[in-house]
Homo-oligomer: 342 residues x 2
DNA sequence: CGCCGATTATGATACGTTTCACCCTAACGC
DNA sequence: GCGTTAGGGTGAAACGTATCATAATCGGCG
């Protein structure tokens, strides 16, 4: 059925070893032979079998990336950054979408483990550290993405979410808001709890400000819309005067839920700030204030760390990279400014 | 280094064949033996080597999916649909992003071919038919996605883009627009040319309406913004009174480019309609009219066709599924209606 | 002309799994 | 008690590649 090196070798009148050399180290083979083998390959339509190659090599040329939500532009940008960086070293990136679900996460880890990936990038949901440690023992380096490793036992690249939460809420307070709602969840997700923690710290500096936490099942537009509608249904006096959403998807959904068929004005009645600064944030109904993260840079840096860790034999080289987020103010939190966007 | 079935077998005191049976057909093995083997697996931390498995099987348990733009929600939704359907048959989906670039597309095809994927889903950019035919000869079925196969030589699942283009422009004409601009590109992409074709047909029915084609390099927010700014820079009299964007990403960008620091009103001065109806369309500055496609359904149907084709031995079973798009009217094309959204 | 080193080519081997033809044993029917 | 059968288990073979020790070839030089 399938064409193998053996048949190529036969047609070209050389040994299989030579064919392999043409494929992998053409400089070690005479020009004339190279040509002859290449012709045979062409003629037979030979395509190298990656499974055999991997089996022999003991390791694949791919790295696995498990993200929380492949539909979130923040993660697609991150993936794009990772892919570009990996490509420079001839590595492919396998993308897995855990959808914030520990079970799905586990099944992707299993898949990647069976594939003997060259490395693993993950934004963890469940309790995966033991599994990751097992992987490491096998020689598969792991880098935690968008999440700081608590005990420096893994390399990680993250953005300071506590600082980001602090920024967001400080900003809301500065524009005069006092009844703030935090919308996000599930609470088990580190990014969410850190952003909330930052928000709380900002509050601690202003005793007159209160915060209400509204937990969601996931960080999606749909969930945001549901919460928005719930808030809209409240009597005016019980509504917050500002909302800090744990990400932009929620914020966009909130905007829909709050404004549709409603007299609520954003930001006049309720100011709104999101997180991630996805490309759509600047063009939503009311352009969205947000906390910007360098998504593509996170991805490429993660691959960088991964490769560095893979190259190091002594395994005490765990690096923790932490980027600082940036406040982007747009119309959703500014009554006066005519946002000039970017 | 790595643990193999052999060592598991040794520890459990059985043969390798039995271990394999426990892994793949546990019902064929005595309960007691199963337990013993499972314990050995656990104890040694054995993880099945997928490369060896594939090598033996001759085929992988993954299907490849090559899309035009992994950052476009239309395609992430499509991918999600495909993944969910594939999972039901125990298949993984490998996602490749061609970024509308023939070279990248080629390299993903090569990768998938080397991986001996069980099947291929592709939204083609370049001239890939010969390569796909070669794949088919090898026994790898292919389904064209979001693109009708011209000569019924491949299975395909698509949406009638000509009809969609017709819908969009008919709608613009109906609300009284006469100077229409079509924004999209590159022209080589079938979806773009079909939508334009549909637009032209709609025009043919109204001799007083003119169309201007503005070609873009890609279908992204950035490109849309650039075109929007170019239109904004024109003298008022030379601006179109309606724009049909080849997808929502462009439309969102156009919205940004047209409205920022500008007195142009949408839809009063320029009506705007996009294509795909991504989740963000309903929550943009001006909620966007669009042509809706059943993205997840396209993905799952494509996998369906793929599996059906893979099951068929006689190879004359190419099916062409064509869905009809749906016009979604929102504020960007309606001066009067206070959009009730969904 | 013969020797040597360098350059090329060879081909057996191993990677870890699944499969399949075969063996063993115990139970069953007659 | 013997033949038959079925259920469990065995282990060698094969999948297609890369590697590496070995062999062949060549050119140059003494």
């Amino acid at each position: 059925m399938s064409v193998s090196v053996r048949e190529v070798a036969a047609l070209a009148g050389v040994s299989v070893g030579t064919v392999s050399n043409v494929l992998n180290r053409p400089d070690k083979v005479t020009e004339a032979t190279v040509v002859r083998v290449r012709e045979a390959i062409e003629q037979l339509g030979f395509v190298r079998n990656d499974a055999a190659r991997q089996l022999r090599a003991g390791r694949s040329r791919s790295i696995g990336l498990v993200v929380l939500d492949a539909g979130n532009p923040f993660f697609t940008d991150l993936a794009r950054g990772a892919e570009a960086r990996a490509l420079r070293d001839g590595l492919a990136v396998l993308l897995g979408n855990s959808d914030e679900d520990a079970e799905r996460e586990r099944s992707y880890l299993e898949l990647f483990e069976e594939q003997r990936v060259a490395g693993l990038l993950i934004t963890p949901v469940g309790h995966v550290v033991p599994r990751l440690e097992r992987l490491r023992e096998r020689g598969t380096p792991t880098v935690l993405v968008d999440r700081q490793a608590e005990n420096a036992t893994f390399s990680s690249v993250a953005v300071d979410d506590v600082a980001g939460g602090h920024m967001a809420v400080s900003h809301l307070v500065e524009i005069g808001r006092r009844r703030i709602a935090f919308v996000g969840g599930p609470a088990g997700i580190r990014q969410v709890s850190d952003r909330l923690e930052g928000a709380r710290r900002a509050l601690a500096e202003h005793s007159t400000v209160t915060i209400e936490v509204i937990e969601t099942e996931s960080l999606t537009v749909l969930q945001g819309r549901a919460v928005g509608e719930a808030i809209r249904a409240r009597p005016k006096s019980e509504r917050p005067d500002a909302i800090f959403a744990a990400n932009d998807l929620l914020a966009v959904g909130l905007l829909q839920g709050l404004m549709i068929l409603s007299d609520i004005r954003v930001p006049e009645d309720i100011a709104l700030i999101g997180y991630d600064d996805i490309a759509f944030a600047s063009s939503s109904v009311v352009p969205l204030s947000s906390i910007r993260q360098p998504s593509a840079l996170i991805g490429s840096t993660a691959v960088d760390l991964l490769l560095r860790e893979a190259a190091t034999t002594g395994d005490f080289a765990h690096e923790q990279v932490v980027f600082q987020p940036e406040l982007i103010v747009r119309a959703s939190t500014s009554t006066t400014v005519a946002s000039s966007d970017e």
